[in-house]
């Protein structure tokens, strides 16, 4: 209790100071102006509407306050009997209508511009949401990867976690692999989903767009300034909805070209690795990584799962064959357990299964090989 009262006292005495330590986005209480034309337009319209509402509010509440003060019986006010005035009623229908038209014109122009898609964007990224991570694919560059919540945030967000959220840099807004885009170039994203509806939202880019299974939504933006732009899934998508952030890293075009080269080299290296040595130590190390980024959202870092929703893997009785089968092909009974064969390499799957069979209280000693996984596909 005392632990909670202290931050509360801080919050009440200094309401507008950013809370606590670690790295985090700056505190703000208004919409961001962001770094794209879309975000800038959204901000301007937001402020326009704010002022319009404020002025209407001052007039209406002002009239009301006047009457609350002046027309009270305790001051001897005697009620008038008027109860109609066509002129006034016309005025307060027409004036708001004119105000609305004045608001609608810029909104229409902006909206039409935002929804126009360029014939040939400089970079295309296919964005796919799934429970609870994002997948980015650059079809022209032949790059693709998953983007998971950073492990430090994952650990600090557990019920009864030892580390406080303030110890995790950019708590809940940090990922292992950010989406990378070049500054000043037209980037088109094509957003869809693999399971339930998600929504891809980065406030500083100025829009969110829903990731809907069976449907592709396109949005285009040009980032004007290098930086890390952080956002979150904005459509309820299940237990991990708060835990699938989006990070966009905007870098200069030259750096982007370097990044593309590096990613390609790394992909080639992984392929080469696939023929590399395979033993318990390598498998456990790699498996721990895969487990932490891909499986622990549901089965939990301690392998206990969540009672009633996600089964515990600690103490499981699965045969090797069934184990490989459910990880590669997913569960028929419950689609939350996806077919990871489509997402992970043979090596990753072999590693994570090895890890699961030899962690916590599981001591089977089984070393699964990538060959076995390949055979099960």
């Amino acid at each position: 209790m005392a632990k909670r009262l202290i931050p509360l006292a801080l919050a009440l005495t200094a309401p507008f100071t950013p809370a606590m330590a670690a790295e985090q986005d700056p505190f703000s209480f208004n919409m961001t102006q962001g770094v794209t034309a879309t975000s800038f337009d959204a901000f301007n319209l937001h402020m326009l509407l704010f002022w319009v509402c404020l002025i209407i509010g001052v007039v209406v509440f002002g009239a009301m306050a006047w009457s609350l003060v002046r027309h009270r019986r305790s001051r001897g006010a005697v009620a008038a009997t008027f109860h109609e005035s066509t002129a006034i009623e016309i005025i307060w229908t027409v004036v708001p209508a004119l105000i609305l038209i004045a608001i609608a014109i810029p909104a229409t122009m902006v909206l039409v511009a935002e929804n126009a898609q360029p014939a040939k964007p400089d970079v295309i990224v296919d964005v796919q949401g799934s429970q609870w991570k994002w997948h980015y694919k650059y079809p022209d560059q032949d790059i693709s990867f998953f983007s998971n919540l950073a492990t430090s945030s994952r650990d600090a967000s557990q019920l009864g976690a030892k580390e406080p959220p303030s110890s995790a840099p950019y708590y809940l807004l940090n990922v292992d692999n950010p989406m990378v885009v070049p500054v000043g170039k037209t980037v088109q994203i094509r957003v869809t989903s693999n399971d339930v509806i998600h929504s891809w939202w980065v406030p500083q880019l100025g829009f969110k767009t829903d990731a809907i299974p069976g449907k592709i939504n396109n949005m285009t933006f040009v980032v004007s300034k290098p930086g890390m732009y952080r956002g979150q899934c904005a459509e309820l998508c299940g237990a991990g909805h708060a835990f699938m952030p989006i990070v966009v890293k905007a870098i200069m075009p030259a750096a982007f070209a370097d990044w593309v080269q590096k990613e390609k080299a790394a992909a080639a290296a992984t392929k080469a690795d696939a023929a590399g040595p395979w033993d318990m130590k390598i498998a456990m190390a790699q498996g721990g990584k895969v487990y932490g980024s891909t499986c622990s959202a549901c089965h939990q870092a301690n392998g206990q799962g969540i009672k009633g929703t996600f089964p515990a893997l600690d103490g499981m009785k699965l045969s090797v064959k069934d184990h490989i089968h459910i990880v590669v092909h997913g569960s028929k009974k419950n689609p939350a357990m996806q077919a990871y064969g489509k997402q992970l390499s043979d090596r990753d799957i072999a590693a994570v299964i090895t890890y699961e069979r030899n962690s916590w209280n599981n001591h089977t000693g089984d070393l699964i090989t990538p060959k076995e996984v390949e055979a099960a596909r």
Binding site: R4, P7, A11, P15, F16, T17, M20, Q24, F27, S28, N30, M31, D41, A42, L45, V60, M64, S67, H71, R73, A77, A79, T81, F82, E84, S85, E89, W92, L100, A107, T108, V110, L111, V112, E114, S157, A161, P165, S166, V196, W201, P203, G206, K208, T209, D210, I212, P213, G214, N217, Q232, C233, E235, L236, G238, A239, A242, I306, G308, T309
Partner: protein
């Protein structure tokens, strides 16, 4: 509070005439001299509109408390970043069940309860058109409530996909309890449908012969219009729910990746947007009764108010996709729904201007019902402003699904519907119970609620603008301050409602007797009935003079 001697005289005159009327009824009508049945069977079997009204109101109070406990659990978890009290899945169940409970088991039954009590009294009818259907429609509700709430205890937990239960999260990926939620929704839908039909028929068929439609009190008018909206909305919801059930069990693919998940949202919001007006139009009606009573001045632009309500109703069926601006609608669709949504703010604005004009140059006093009404006008208008902002699509690309929306919902539902219900309860309680409430206690309830409501919900605007999505159990560290303030406000608000319950118990048990017309400025046939009220009223219709004096014609 202190009626002038003139009104006192008016009251006694009214008492006398009604006493006589009652006497005549007594002699001729067999059931007139029956009081209520003794014991608990009274409540199970009653067909008396007053008893049914009371039961709806009690149910809604229970709903408000249970939904409120869920809200406080949500707020407790959100007090600081990190998960402290529960697993995310359970948190999602709480938000889902909180939304469903508040909408279907707190606000809607409260408004139906007010209608059951007041519509027959305001139009001089002796009961509802179908008294027995009225009883059934009510008793379906607790059954649905028990089914809905019991889902917390079945394996897999309560529904967790939001009160909007979007597929595929609520079809392929939903827990078993979704089926029970759908059954509960069906039961509540049927109940509301027949409840609405009953109210419409009561107004159209049982209205006392001397009362023209245009002369009906505004509360009854709002319910007449809302009734039709319910007849449209409830079957739509039933269709959406049944299609979800079918996708879950009968192998159809309406809303899967191989079907069209967006189609669900169209159907759902074709129900959902009218639904929000179902929750606010009767509330407007209450405010239109209370403001003139305490301004001692007829409602300004009465006809306009009725037309505005009708206009809002029609328009409310053309704006549904403003909840779907980010699903990837074609541009022309987004433009259409932006314009239609902006348009609907015009008749809504007219209503607010008319209330202010009613107060203008009145002779105002500030008893509790009036305080709630004033708070309603100010705070609902703030909710209206954020609504107008949400209609602006390019800005909504940012607002959508953030705490800005949560702030908006609560300004229109809590300080809108709920505050109007409080206004109505304080206004009519002396009539219902024949006893006066304690003004001091009532004012404490009011001030604590209004202040804490703003502490709880105003910071949510900022949290949303700063980038906090809604329906999340845990959040980034920079949102902490807003959430702590919200939580403190929510707890004060929640506990303040205990004062309301205490006030109710005190009034019913030991409040001082109330005058037949406790508010000297109040007009309407309900006030010609003596206090305490007989169990059966208007067995003989009100006289033409009463209808004239209590209606709008009295001012012409």
């Amino acid at each position: 509070m202190n009626p002038t001697s003139e009104t006192l005289m008016q009251n006694t005159a009214a008492d006398a005439s009604i006493g006589q009327v009652g006497h005549v009824g007594h002699a001729h009508d067999d059931h007139a001299h029956h009081g209520p049945r003794k014991g608990w069977l009274r409540w199970l079997l009653t067909v008396n509109h007053k008893d049914v009204g009371t039961m709806y109101l009690v149910l809604s109070l229970v709903g408000l408390m249970i939904g409120g406990i869920m809200a406080l659990l949500i707020r407790a978890e959100l007090f600081e970043p990190g998960m402290q009290l529960m697993q995310p899945q359970f948190f999602n169940s709480l938000t889902t069940m909180h939304g469903l409970t508040m909408i279907f088991l707190a606000i809607m039954p409260a408004l139906t309860g007010l209608a059951n009590w007041m519509v027959p009294l305001q139009i001089g009818a002796d009961d509802m058109y179908w008294p027995r259907v009225n009883n059934w429609a009510f008793w379906a509700m607790p059954v649905a409530a028990v089914i809905l709430w019991s889902t917390f205890f079945i394996p897999g937990g309560a529904p967790a996909g939001g009160w909007t239960f979007y597929p595929p999260l609520s079809t392929t990926y939903g827990p078993e309890s979704i089926d029970w939620m759908i059954i509960a929704i069906h039961i509540m839908g049927v109940s509301s449908f027949f409840g609405a039909l009953n109210i419409i028929l009561t107004i159209l068929k049982l209205r006392t012969p001397g009362m023209k439609l245009m002369d009906m009190p505004l509360f009854t008018w709002s319910w007449l219009i809302t009734g039709f909206l319910l007849l449209l909305a409830m079957p739509t919801l039933a269709i959406a729910a049944t299609m979800v059930l079918s996708d879950r069990h009968w192998g159809t693919h309406f809303f899967g990746a191989d079907g069209n998940p967006v189609m669900f949202q169209h159907i759902f919001w074709f129900f959902g947007h009218p639904e929000v007006y179902i929750m606010i139009l009767p509330a407007f009606g209450v405010i239109s009764e209370v403001v003139p009573a305490f301004a001692r001045k007829p409602l300004f632009g009465r006809k306009m108010m009725i037309y505005a309500t009708a206009a809002i109703t029609f328009m409310s069926t053309t704006v549904w996709a403003h909840h779907m601006f980010t699903v990837g609608l074609p541009v022309w669709g987004q433009l259409f729904f932006m314009y239609s949504t902006m348009l609907i703010s015009i008749p809504t604005g007219v209503k607010i201007f008319n209330w202010v004009a009613t107060m203008w140059r009145g002779s105002l006093t500030f008893e509790t019902p009036m305080l709630w009404a004033i708070a309603f006008i100010v705070l609902f208008t703030i909710g209206g402003f954020s609504g107008l902002m949400l209609a602006d699509v390019p800005a909504d690309y940012q607002y959508q699904d953030t705490y800005f929306v949560v702030a908006h919902i609560h300004y229109v539902l809590v300080s809108g519907s709920l505050f109007a219900i409080f206004a109505g309860v304080y206004y009519w309680l002396p009539k219902w119970s024949g006893r006066m409430y304690n003004e001091r206690l009532a004012q404490w309830h009011f001030w604590l609620s209004v202040i804490s409501m703003n502490i709880a919900f105003f910071p949510m605007h900022f949290a949303g603008l700063a980038g906090m999505p809604r329906r999340i159990p845990d959040y980034a560290v920079q949102f902490t301050d807003f959430n702590m303030i919200s939580t403190v406000g929510a707890f004060i608000f929640g506990f303040s409602q205990l004062l309301f319950i205490w006030m109710l118990i005190k009034t019913v048990r030991s409040g001082p007797p109330a005058l037949a017309r406790p508010w000297d400025g109040a007009r309407g046939l309900e006030w010609v009935i003596p206090s305490p009220m007989p169990y059966h009223t208007f067995i003989t219709p009100p006289t033409d003079k009463q209808i004239h004096d209590e209606g709008p014609k009295a001012y012409e």
